[in-house]
């Protein structure tokens, strides 16, 4: 298991290469996620109106982006009327400070947290731990990666890269389960006991937010395990952290999104719990932290704003043939896979310049996306931005310049010599030398006697 700090400086291709050294494991990872994709397909086919539902969701999200200012103000006002304290954070650092200051005021240090990709994006756990706060992730998968000191490798299935035997070992070490027991039923029961104690003794609960309703000021949190609900209902203080793009206009729009979310994510008809938090329990305090962290800037980009429609279902990861064969950590960003690859460069172009290239642009991601984000088109557009802004290596750039020159001069293209010579020297994927990655596991195509052009001139050219 590679920890986060080791992966930070390596690019996707290098990390994916490492992942691929254990081929049976790659096969296992691929098949496990493909199984989830198949479950998604099965669930979608149960709904004949599926494509119409996706289109509707997409249009609602477009409306949200066009009216975000109004919806945020309405949400804030409603939430305040519901007795909720609303906070605004411009960036990750401010988000972390706000959460910490809320915790600090209570004088309590034991915190439970349910799944929130926003807090992963902001590295909240690291921040709180550095301030002496004992924060425990309560989603089973997240708890597993937390015990292993790793980030999640998937936004919905955080430890999808872990084998049960390894989890058995991890639990033996940290929770004292018997050595060698790797039965998922048994390990889940052990985690239930371990985390129940935390729920009972943690007066502060942090949750993410799946949807926030502008009309009513309520937030909706979806889980299968019940960990968000248990954490919140046993707490004195509930802190819900959300990106500002989580808004939807009215409660009735949840009908569309809740039909799509779980089916797209895991193939379930709905998550076990879809909880609507409107007002805190009497005596309880509820805070909502609205986080920007680059989102308001991205809203101004015609090419990239649609990424803000994302509802974090993870379907694009499950279907991505590259993700399935490279693992979530190869993306070295809180959100892996295709959607992560279009979100990450917006936050840090230099650090994440490799990610839009970690794709064959096959387009499967855009087809499964429940809100119809043009993911693969954005990957293509990011490549253009990154190359123009100088985030692509100069060797590649010079090669491209040379290629562009030859390909725009037909005579040079022809004269470039005998058949195959030019292409095999300059086509980026066929560069013929001993270091050529093509030939590591593949034979080079054999050059024929004549090119098509030469054949045509000999045999077909009309006088």
């Amino acid at each position: 298991m590679e920890a986060q700090q080791h992966t930070a400086s390596k690019d996707h291709a290098t990390l994916a290469d490492t992942f691929n050294r254990d081929e049976p494991r790659v096969d296992w990872h691929d098949k496990t996620l493909w199984f989830v994709r198949q479950k998604r397909d099965k669930a979608a086919w149960q709904i004949p109106e599926w494509e119409h539902l996706r289109e509707t969701a997409s249009q609602i999200k477009h409306n949200v982006l066009a009216n975000l200012h109004h919806y945020l103000l309405s949400f804030e006002q409603q939430a305040q009327q519901n007795g909720v304290t609303v906070h605004w954070a411009a960036n990750a650092e401010e988000h972390n400070q706000i959460v910490h200051s809320i915790i600090q005021k209570t004088g309590i240090t034991r915190v439970v947290k349910s799944k929130s990709m926003l807090t992963e994006e902001c590295h909240l756990n690291d921040y709180l731990q550095a301030q002496g706060i004992d924060v425990v992730d309560t989603d089973l998968g997240e708890r597993i990666v937390q015990l292993a000191n790793e980030p999640p490798s998937h936004i919905v299935l955080p430890c999808i890269h872990w084998k049960k035997e390894e989890i058995g070992e991890l639990f033996h070490k940290h929770l004292g389960t018997p050595e060698g027991n790797s039965d998922p039923q048994f390990l889940t029961a052990a985690a239930r006991v371990h985390l129940r104690e935390r729920f009972m003794t943690s007066p502060i609960a942090i949750t993410g937010v799946n949807f926030a309703i502008a009309e009513t000021g309520e937030v909706v949190v979806c889980t299968n395990e019940g960990n968000a609900d248990l954490g919140v209902q046993l707490s004195d203080v509930h802190i819900a952290c959300m990106g500002i793009e989580k808004l939807i206009p009215e409660r009735k729009h949840l009908g569309v999104f809740l039909r799509l979310l779980a089916r797209s994510a895991t193939g379930q008809p709905i998550t076990t719990y879809s909880s609507h938090f409107r007002k805190p329990r009497p005596g309880q305090h509820m805070h909502i932290v609205l986080v920007d962290n680059g989102r308001s800037e991205r809203l101004g980009s015609d090419d990239f704003r649609n990424a803000l429609k994302c509802i974090r279902c993870g379907a694009c990861m499950n279907t991505c043939p590259v993700y399935r064969r490279s693992g979530g950590h190869s993306y070295h960003y809180a959100i892996a896979g295709p959607i992560g690859s279009i979100l990450a460069p917006a936050l840090d172009m230099k650090k994440n310049a490799d990610l839009p290239f970690a794709s064959t642009l096959c387009g499967s991601c855009s087809n499964v996306c429940p809100v119809k984000i043009d993911i693969h088109d954005q990957l293509y557009k990011w490549r253009q931005v990154l190359a123009k802004d100088g985030y692509v290596g100069s060797t590649k750039k010079n090669g491209m310049k040379g290629m562009a020159f030859v390909l725009s001069h037909p005579r040079i293209y022809r004269i470039s010599g005998s058949v195959g010579r030019w292409v095999s020297r300059h086509m980026p994927f066929l560069v013929s030398n001993s270091l050529n990655p093509w030939a590591k596991q593949r034979e080079m195509p054999t050059a024929p006697k004549q090119s098509f052009g030469e054949w045509y001139r000999t045999n077909k050219r009309k006088a």
Partner: protein, 244 residues
Amino acid sequence: MKVAIFIPCYVDQFYPQVGIATLELLEKLGVSVFYPEKQTCCGQPMANSGFEHLATSCNDLFVENFSGYDYIVCPSGSCTLHIKDHLHASANEPAAEKIRSTVMELTEFLTDVLHIKNLTAHFPHKVGLHQSCHGQRGLHLSQMSELVSPGFSKPQHLLNLVQGLELIPLDRTDECCGFGGTFCVAEEAVSVKMGKDRIADHLHHGAEYITGGDMSCLMHLEGILRRQRSTTKVIHIAEILNAG
């Protein structure tokens, strides 16, 4: 009907038989085909690497070569899609626009323009069809497994007209082969793994040939098959439709 063929650069240089089969097939079907001899490339290798802005003169050349035809037919879904989505010409945008709307992938042209209902082709083999992503998801040559929509497949329709050909089923009907242009070398490990997995699916179902509308995918799969010393071969769909 004035029809030009666009033979992608790597087909021109490495797989001339695919260009020849395309030309012969179209002529057999009564189309008079023009081959603009100054053609080179669609510009995709630059663009997919992020250097679309370096492809301007390549685009201009394309427009110069392919203006004035009713259709431009190309035996590659990927190159066709690139032209359709990204061909622009600052000096002559109307011409570029015309080309974008009249460029067609071969099987699409045969199905939608020529309305081919029968073929004389004969190919008595077990064949697996590899759907190139750009042909399928980009040009909608076949229905995509992700969508809840009725199925169809233009290449499959044509292959079903070939005598003796047995189309084998696949476990994953439209998973990417991992070629992906520069991806195939930049992400060598994943690219090859994807290719190996595609091949395993075809071999598992007894394919003697793997066919498809994109020689780039097939070149990648061929490279792996040959390294594995497999007896299974790749063959472009134009060669099958033109066989016998």
